[in-house]
Subunit: 182 residues, 2 copies
């Protein structure tokens, strides 16, 4: 069973990529990744947005920006993380998932701009979520959803100030006081 | 087994939403929806982008813009489509999926801006893909991936001019001549 999931996003441009990278962060956080590493320019607004979500909704999902992404990827590999690069050119994911979910620690790599050859070569797996032009946000979401059990999507986040009470029809938000929050 | 999937996106603003709605379209197309209906302003550039993808990669995924979305939703409901609205406030999806995948025809509703109350009430299901702040692109991708078998993500698209040959390491694109293309 996977114990730690980190997402690495290759490429981020201030302003232009703000919304798309925000979507990537939300997917990673909601699906229990511990951290996203963004290989691109430091974007304080994006980081503050995600930190505000943590403060209200809980958990300690982290956002990091790195310029020297190559040494970071190699460092995580050295630490025992399996590098799984999601690319439309890769192998069919269902043929590799059985192996991948046995790993303890996974670093998922997704691109935005054209991904350099070195990432294909450093990765332990280059897999596709369908061999069609795709959204990297969608591909990441499907891949992460396969690593965790459906129920985990509904598990509590630590230190949340609010949580949703699932409802057939209504928007039910429960305010949690500090003492009752896990 | 689901025979037809249509995606309805509530809200689209020219320029501002271009990239995010494009991601939504790519997810819908890659995961075998037949059509996306966008309740918002006609965006010719977006439509042309998706049509260019169809021309090269195959299939006949359609993009439609409607202003009077309310009557369209009611019309599809009358035609026997089950309306499934994805919302972070909704019921836990794994509790409802067994019923949903038995449906013949599904219209998946996703929001962008705040979704009006009427959509909650008209929908047959309001379900969440996790009760956390989420990306509607990610939520749509996970939901659609649950409606189809993993292998379907790799099935051929009709009249494709090119297709990918899945590879461990390389970008292999096969050009299909007209006669061999299915």
């Amino acid at each position: 069973m996977v114990k730690d999931i980190i997402v690495f996003r290759y490429g981020h441009r201030i302003v232009r990529d703000f919304r798309v990278t925000t979507h990537v962060c939300l997917v990673a956080r909601a699906l229990k990744a511990s951290k996203i590493i963004i290989g691109g320019l430091q974007d304080n607004e994006l980081e503050q947005n995600i930190n505000r979500i943590n403060l209200l909704w809980g958990g300690d999902f982290k956002v990091e920006f790195v310029e020297n992404w190559w040494s970071i990827l190699k460092e995580y590999k050295r630490l025992g993380y399996s590098l799984v690069h999601l690319t439309m050119y890769g192998e069919e994911s269902h043929k590799r998932l059985k192996n991948i979910i046995k790993k303890d620690k996974i670093l998922v790599v997704i691109g935005s701009q054209k991904v350099p050859r070195e990432i294909y070569e450093l990765s332990d797996y280059n897999i596709s979520i369908g061999n069609q032009p795709h959204s990297e946000i969608g591909a990441l979401a499907i891949f992460l959803s396969k690593l965790i059990k459906d129920k985990q999507m509904y598990s509590d986040f630590k230190n949340a100030k609010i949580k949703i009470l699932p409802s057939k029809l209504n928007k039910n938000i429960l305010k949690l006081d500090k003492n009752s929050a896990k």
